[in-house]
Amino acid sequence: MDEDQVLGFVTAYLRKKGFTQTEHAFQEELQQNKNTSSANSLVEPDIAKQILSFSKLESGPARFHDGYSRLRSWAYSSLDLYKHELLRVLYPVFIHCFIDLVAKGHIQEARNFFNIFREDHDMLHLRDLQKLEGVLSPSHLQEMEFAHSLRQSKFKIKICEYSYELLLQHLHNTQSTTILGIINEHIDFQVTSGQPSAISDDPEAVTLCGSSQDAANQINQKEMHWGLLEDSLEERLEKSGALLSDSEKGEGEAKEGENEENKKRSIEGGKQGASIKKVKKEKGGSASGKSAKPETTPAAPRVKPELPLPIIQTEVEQSILEDLRNRVQLSSVALPSVSFYTFLNTHNGLSCSSISHDGSLVAGGFSDSSLKVWDMAKLGQQTVNSLSQGENDTAQNEQILGQSGGRRQYTLFQGHSGPVYAASFSPVGDFILSSSADSTIRLWNTKLNANLVCYKGHNYPVWDVQFSPVGHYFASASHDRTARIWSMDRIQPLRIMAGHLSDVDCVQWHANCNYIATGSSDKTVRVWDVQSGECVRIFIGHRSMILSLAMSPDGRYMASGDEDGTIMMWDLSSGSCLMPLVGHTSCVWSLAFSCEGTLLASGSADSTVKLWDVTSSAKLPRSDEKGGTTNRLRSLRTLPTKSTPVSSLRFSRRNLLFAAGALARNG
């Protein structure tokens, strides 16, 4: 090893570290000591090369640029068969090159790098790129949670053997040690044998794994009892034999007889009750008459309610039973009728809307802090009356539509001091809850037209509030990253669900009122147990903030819609995603399951209502199915409106679909 090389290393080191004075002193002494002999150092040539390359490595942000552009051009020029998989690698490398450049302080180069190469990734990762665009100094990196989590966790990429070999070969051949280092540090390859898969078929092709995924997997192992409530109205109806159900219910009925004892059981495999205590004769008769469906997973045993349920008054019960008896059966061949309520002249003021369970009341929350409720049944009655009366009848004059004079057609509820972000009707329709940016939730009575209670607990805007399916209890979701469960007769919350990493945007109750689901801006959906307040499920898979949730009436599935227009169907018992439903081009504001759970309706900001088939969406895709595109065809119908983004949907108890939205001006 050369004396000169050693000198070269030392000088390079000093220069790199910025020890200018030491460097000068060193040079001076070098001059002095030139004549004296130097000791021989025994160092292997390989190590010398390594040290030299390391000293070179420390300088030059251009190598990120070169390495990445080389990788990119190679990936784009590779065979189509492997191209898709190789392109998946580009995004993590791009992100980490950029972060490395910023961390080392080369701001200008980082910005150039970012601007040159961002177009490739704009389509899939626009939001993340926008967040990273603002990162301009190492201290930003420290503070920003997103960048921090990117540094900590590894990208998991599924890749087939051939592509993997190709990638490694290329990296070794071109000696791009920087890129190799980045890939090694931040990407975790899951190598599968066999043919490379087609484009983006698998929503989990590139996932950010790391501590969040592991924690999620651990949480998803917990037990969750997703069966329906015992002694619900539907159950009583079935017992009386009045409801002619199809074979799915037939199976469920047989099990109700078995599960009269109130034991909760785990749902692995959907085990049936061990002993049959009572076999109801009517049920035996009805069950035998049905043809069994080939592959229905059995329903979970019915569970006891955790919260004490309110007593339903007899008239209300009668009307609900009446509705259940007259319910229209919907399926993929029998699509529902839709009644759409359009808000006119809102001047961008409508921030939320809600429809009551029977479709007769429509509420709109406005950004001027008011809540307005229209009684559609009364309005409809008035039109009939005024049409049937002759013009000579002056008694109807004060109720002429559109010329109200002093009389409003809606009930105005004023009390909030901030825009009203959510409204929810009680199941009977006599109470409304509204939540607003002033961090309070207010309870109003529609019959008395009065504000009854103001619930203060959150300190930040409350984005969503939902009555439970049995009434009396409600859940709220707020910017302070918690969801809270309240009871109507307490001004303090019963439970606080904390755990989300970002503000909670929407909340829904499970059909058995023992669980609530929350969707958040951290792109996860969590399911919480009401009794303990613990999180029992985390669903990861969305790519943007979650705007709407819906629970299936049989308690088995959950659907969530996000800001990009993707709807994901989740299986509650296993915690896995069944199917992403793609079709909407803009935010999905609202989701609703039909009363038997066969159809899912989704309303979006692209002014359409789409109907999806749940039964075929729920089947897990088999690997031997030919043609990946058939999995996509779950959308049954798209119902476009003129230019009205759909802000809320509701299936009434008779399976009539109601929708509401504010007419948007074109453009």
């Binding site: 665009e133 008054q313 209670v453």
Partner: protein, 125 residues
């Protein structure tokens, strides 16, 4: 006073480029004015308080530390963040260990005590 794009003052141009860099293309012109008002008011407040701080420390001019101190003291009143995760988890734990109510009051409208509702008269004669 309608300003064309080129005639905008430097500050307004800065706000425009900020909005553009965050990806906001569609906004009403008055949004820029509102941002300018907010910006100006915030900077004036911070600098006035920073001057008080530096005078208290008997310095001749405002220092970086003064500004930092002022911003920290203001952070609880404006631009406040929700409490950190640990605080929330602890709050949740203490709230969730209360047992759920065992039974409800009988049928009829169940509301909190009269003093907690809004239906009692809030005036005295």
């Amino acid at each position: 006073m309608a300003d064309k794009d080129e005639d905008l003052p430097r500050d307004a141009k800065i706000v425009q480029s900020l909005l553009k860099s965050m990806g906001v293309e569609d906004y009403e012109p008055c949004a820029i004015h509102k941002f300018l008002v907010l910006w100006y008011r915030y900077v004036v407040e911070v600098l006035t308080d920073a001057q008080v701080c530096s005078k208290h420390a008997s310095k001749t001019a405002i220092d970086c530390d003064d500004v930092r101190l002022t911003i920290q003291s203001k952070v609880n009143f404006s631009f406040s963040q929700p409490p950190p995760r640990e605080v929330l988890l602890e709050l949740a734990w203490s709230c969730n260990k209360m047992p759920l109510p065992k039974s409800l009051a009988g049928p009829g409208i169940s509301l909190p005590l009269d003093k907690d509702t809004l239906i009692s008269p809030n005036y005295q004669l």
